[in-house]
Amino acid sequence: MTAHPVQNEASARPAAAPGPDISEARRRRHPGRWVAALVVAVLLAQLVNMLVTNENFGWSVVAQWLTAESIMRGLGVTLLLTVIAMVIGIVLGVLLAVCRISGNPLLRSVAGGYIWFFRGTPTLVQLIFFYNLSALLPTISFGIPFGPEFITLNTNSIITPMLAAILGLGLNEGAYMAEIVRGGLLSVDSGQREAGAAIGMTNARIMRRIVLPQAMRFIVPPTGNQVISMVKATALVSVIALSDLLYTAQAIYNRTFETIPMLIVACIWYLIVTSILYVAQSFIERHYNRGSRHQTTGFLDFLKIRPRASLPAVMEGPTG
């Protein structure tokens, strides 16, 4: 008897639906989060306490050396090496990737072999190998293969630590970039190539006008990651006595025995450089994701603690 009038009323005015409503629901409590916050707070306090009270950090030494001329020169070498190695890596990577997907089986397997070798051996070993190239090839000559030689050079005099570092890091990077570029090229639908071919474009033109511009969206963001990795990978060259940032810091603490402060100086500079690159990368990613619905996280997002939106925005209809 009583159910009927209520039902009629409800169908006439759906806004006044009887009974509990989701919008008034009690939110779930999260006691675990408070416990976690407490644990983190205690650990953080301990960390700060150690940083301040432990004199072995030698903060005054850090401040003294942070902008010292020798450190700045080391930083310059690190940055220069990063740029040169990445340029070599990108150019080589594009060439290798194009070879990898070309119709020529010989080019395909040569590129495959190159990538296999340089990705399969440690970068550190490659660096030392190039540095000691003279032990394998005492002289390097240019001329007709198996015929007369026009120029003969002493390997020891041309393979400086800088050249060994550029070769080691650049050739190694080329192998990784090749895989990134290849992935980008393969991500472009084959219909695009066919459409280009159907209006009479040559393969080179299809690559330049149709495939590469579309592949850039998939190539640029991971390339940014590679640049950031390269900044840190350059620290490996300290083993071949090239005065990069790390080697300079080592040279100083070998003299002054202030090992920890000098390593902190190096870390601070690595962090500054990579942070700038992270910011740049997030801008680049946002640029290439225009139009797509995928949201990239910004650089400082890890610092933000904010409640997740409890209701999706879709529910805010024009009537609500």
Binding site: G191, A197, A198, I199, G200, M201, N203, Q214
Partner: protein
């Protein structure tokens, strides 16, 4: 629709093609004359799309011969023998063959106008202004005037396909190939594309159309070709093939559309 000229634009002789061990084309013979509209019908897997793609060499051909406007697309005759051409020369010969794809395949990073003039300007070396003028006329013809600055993703499927038709027409092809041009479209968008194609057929464009649209075949085709199992089963006017099929396989296929 009377066929005035009689010169064949397309001559396919005993065309054979296999994917691995599967023979998908078992000797196709087809002639298409200037101004003719030929609709190819047939069940999925009958080889009709593959045959179409063989015509402009998007698929390689294993045997037989295909001549477009009297030339082999991928070969040249030297001393009574065919010699494979350099890919760039194949690309040059493809300019005369327009193609419209099932998935439109517009270039997503270019505007509608850039899509259309890419061929004329970039491939044929036409003056940009001339190409733009023709592109605008073509857009008007396919019912998309003033959409030249849109990007493909801002258009509906039917609009994208009409841009793709304009892009193919911009090269002033001697032969147009349509590979299931309405199969990827929502039902309500099929009509606008078919209408554009019918207008082109009536204007005397030489067309080979692979489709499942029986009504289009009836309205626009000069000749209907029915393919099944890699061979042409029968061909004739729409009245003959669609309304009075002689072959059992044709009857079975058409029965599904009634």
């Amino acid at each position: 629709m009377t066929i005035t000229a009689t010169r064949p634009v397309l001559e396919a002789r005993n065309v054979r093609k296999s994917f691995g061990h599967v023979e998908v084309l078992k000797g196709i013979d087809l002639e298409v004359r200037t101004g003719e509209t030929v609709v190819v019908l047939g069940p999925s897997g009958s080889g009709k799309s593959t045959f179409l793609r063989c015509i402009n060499l998007l698929e390689s051909v294993d045997g037989g011969r295909i001549l477009v406007d009297g030339n082999d697309v991928g070969y040249e005759v030297v001393d009574e023998r065919l010699h494979e051409l350099h890919p760039n020369e194949v690309a040059r010969r493809r300019r005369d063959i327009g193609m419209v794809f099932q998935q439109f395949n517009l270039f997503p990073h270019m505007t509608v106008l850039e899509n259309i003039i890419e061929g004329p300007v970039g491939v044929r070396g036409e003056k940009k202004q001339v190409a733009i003028e023709r592109a605008k006329r073509l857009l008007e013809q396919v019912g998309l005037a003033h959409r030249e600055d849109s990007y493909p993703r801002q258009l509906s499927g039917g609009q994208q396909q009409r841009v793709a038709i304009a892009r193919a027409l911009a090269m002033e092809p001697k032969l147009m190939l349509f590979d299931e041009p309405t199969s990827a479209l929502d039902p309500e968008l099929v009509g606008e594309v078919l209408k554009t194609m019918e207008e082109l057929a009536n204007e005397g464009l030489t067309m080979v159309v692979v489709t499942h649209e029986i009504s289009f075949a009836r309205e626009a085709a000069d000749r209907v070709v029915f393919m099944d199992g890699g061979v042409i089963v029968e061909q004739g006017t729409p009245d003959q093939v669609i309304d009075n099929p002689q072959h059992e396989r044709t009857r079975a296929f058409l029965a599904r559309f009634l």
